[in-house]
Symmetry: C2
Subunit: 462 residues, 2 copies
């Protein structure tokens, strides 16, 4: 008898109608009456379950009726077309073998559970519909990201996580050590003796792969990173985690306008792929997580992203007939309420570009006005800022002087500066927090619910 | 005039013959004589360079002759067919614009450099042929890995890097902290006070995502991880690094024999993809890094991997007419020399399975003989062990008793044990060090030369 996966039963249904097949999976629900019953089985291959009908013709009928939620079973039977609109087919079981009867203490019995509770059983929550949908979408979106870049000639670069340079501002960087922290630290001349540590000096975890990424873009033209990022921010919000995944492409021979073309093309590709490959998961999220989700995603891929200067954005906010909690300022950042207003005003995604230089990073190219930098944030309806990018300063002297102005150590970053000495070019890049994107695509409101095992201040379970 | 990338000129040559195009890139070499010269330009899109011919008809001919290696230029000209066997086409330049003249201190002038030297300029080495080939192959292989799993219904899971469980044996685990290491550590009751640290307790970096991966396999059937792994081993060898990338698939409803089928299929897929997508890079590595490399890879994909028991392997070694540095033992591990002999004896890849349980991990399924576990190592010619996997112990009581025997804390791992209570199933998984695979595929002999920025004891530059 052919062993099949449930995905194939759904995707190639006609191949299996009236055929006997075998399926191994987990019991999601079981209903029974006197002479028959229904089991919803899931084998992990697909978001939806297989409905199995069993009757008292089974030799172990009484046992089968008592199968507990989350038990592992092997069912054999015929796939039969149904007249039911909700269910195109079902299996009529010839045998139900119980491989492992789940303990009745299983915490996810059939009822709604809060996301807060489900975080306490993070090892079991992927078995629920919501998290099955979210983590399938996460996987499909991750692959779409790789596909987009590979199809467009980018080289995937694994930039290092460990660094001994603290030039990023070590406040947000974790320290990494092999020294014994259960004892007093070794000292030499009154200072901690890091020569005894594995790298012979103080080590950190980087918060970004951009600088290393730029070195590879100067060889391969177009590169991208996609990996975990650890930041030690002591920030307990719905959008912050101490461990998350980030995508950082870097493109040579590319200015700010071309960068926005790429960002728009990229984002639309990812959303299209998820719409195409995860219809069942998105339909579930649309119904139970965020009403109108699928419409929102279709609107995104069909819109032309607006491009406005930061100054225009502030003009717009100042003119608005609104009382702001945070006053919009020409020299300042955009608050959440401002981002919301702007995307609602344009009824779609908006690139806000040419930001005041004083609130942006040293590596961004200063515009001819001397006051703004060629930076761009993409604001999307419902999620606010989702990507941040810039054209990089390619002029050696200008970059050095800006680093000195901002107190950045030029000695430690000699290798980064050398990119401007040995074949500098106009280049740009952006960063995208993967979880922010997933929150936007799934409608989930808390970053803890789009990461398999979230790490946040005072929370590092499992 | 059409802006093109060099890859398109090579892959769709006929589209461009006799057309005027524009290319931006870096000067790799320049040769000139009185009235003309040749520039090899690379734009990063392709392993090979574009040969540009220029003559004294250029208004800036004297300047162009003096262009330094690694300068950035924009060339416009006609693509012309050549009679040269080495070079199917070249560009006859109408104009050569110098965007950035590279400083003459550029350390990679045209001559051979040792890999040791090139590690000291890791930010520039991707511009050399060898590292251009290696890191392109790395990117293509990484994507092939994602493709293989996605095409076969696996869900990509990002398991956490930060953990507060030290049950893996903290000797090889880095400690992660936000405490100020430049001052004495805070204490309470004579012990370090980790309640002041960000997670409120001692935190580590995990050395494996397997256990977390298993929790997701119990929901999605088939999953894989692919991310960086940090281990604090103080080991200075050609095959050890403190930061490397690892792939860990985990498959439900899969026993050891099925696992070997998957491992074989997986490895052949990756090698086939690299052979197909990187012919130029592999030809270079075959010529300059490992003679016979391409033949080796073809032999791998055309072979049937042998499967023998650990006991048979030891029998074979004991019978061999050889003096061993390390005596083969029925209860012991295989030394490098043993692995080499076995793959040479069978003239191809060999799965060695059913290992003595005392030298293997607690989570591996104990065989009915009570002495061996259902573990398997794949040995390949020239590289030795490249993948390690096992069927996992799915029986709750047996797993608990084995953990107790081996001194593993069952309390901390309650969530892992619960997988055996709530829908346990026969499942298996394997681990693959990405860099080991890359060393095998490229022929590079030092792990430091297949990682963009290697981190090894006392070495954490850039």
């Amino acid at each position: 008898m052919e062993k099949v996966i449930i995905k194939d039963l759904y995707r190639k249904t006609s191949d299996y109608i009236d055929k006997d097949v075998e399926v191994s999976g987990w019991v999601r629900t079981l209903r029974d009456s006197k002479a028959f019953g229904f089991i919803e089985v899931n084998d992990g291959s697909f978001f939806k379950n297989l409905q199995v009908v069993f009757t008292d013709s089974l030799s172990n009928f009484e046992e089968v009726k008592k199968i507990t939620i989350s038990s592992t079973i092997i069912v054999k039977g015929k796939i039969v077309k149904t007249e039911n609109a909700k269910q195109e087919f079902e299996m009529h079981a010839n045998s139900v073998e119980i491989f492992n009867l789940s303990d009745s203490s299983y915490p996810l019995q059939k009822k709604r559970h809060s996301f807060e509770f489900l975080r306490t059983v993070a090892h079991l929550r992927p078995r629920t519909n919501t998290f099955s949908a979210v983590f399938r979408i996460r996987s499909i979106a991750a692959f779409a990201i790789h596909e987009y870049f590979q199809n467009n000639g980018y080289v995937y670069v694994n930039t290092p996580i460990i660094t001994c340079a603290d030039c990023e501002g070590s406040a947000e960087m974790f320290k990494l050590t092999t020294l014994d922290l259960d004892k007093p630290l070794p000292t030499k001349d009154g200072k901690t003796d890091f020569s005894q540590d594995i790298f012979g000096k103080k080590a950190f975890i980087t918060g970004s792969g951009q600088l290393h990424g730029e070195t590879f873009a100067a060889a391969f033209g177009k590169i991208y990173t996609f990996g975990p990022t650890l930041r030690s921010e002591d920030s307990n919000t719905k959008t912050h985690a101490n461990e998350f995944w980030m995508i950082e492409p870097e493109i040579s021979f590319c200015d700010l306008e071309q960068l926005m073309d790429i960002e728009e093309d990229f984002l639309k590709y990812i959303v299209k792929e998820v719409l195409e490959k995860c219809p069942e998961e998105l339909a579930f999220c649309d119904q139970f997580v965020e009403k109108g989700l699928i419409d929102k995603l279709h609107r995104l891929i069909n819109s032309n992203f607006v491009r406005i200067d930061h100054k225009e954005a502030i003009d717009l906010l100042k003119k608005a007939d609104r009382k702001w909690e945070f006053t919009p300022e020409y020299g300042g950042d955009l608050a959440k309420e401002h981002e919301k207003y702007i995307t609602e005003y344009y009824n779609g995604p908006v690139f806000v570009k040419n930001w005041p230089k004083d609130i942006k990073s040293y590596y961004m190219k200063v515009n001819p006005d001397g006051k703004t930098v060629a930076a761009v944030d993409l604001e999307v309806p419902g999620a606010g800022e989702i990507m941040g990018g810039s054209q990089r300063e390619e002029n050696y002297d200008k970059l050095v002087s800006r680093m000195k102005d901002m107190g950045i150590d030029t000695d430690q970053l000699y290798w980064y500066l050398e990119l401007r000495k040995y074949g500098s070019n106009i280049h740009s890049g952006f960063g995208l927090g993967f979880e922010r994107l997933l929150m936007y695509i799934t409608g989930m409101e808390n970053i803890r619910d789009v990461i398999p095992y979230p790490r946040t201040p005072n929370n590092c379970e499992f």
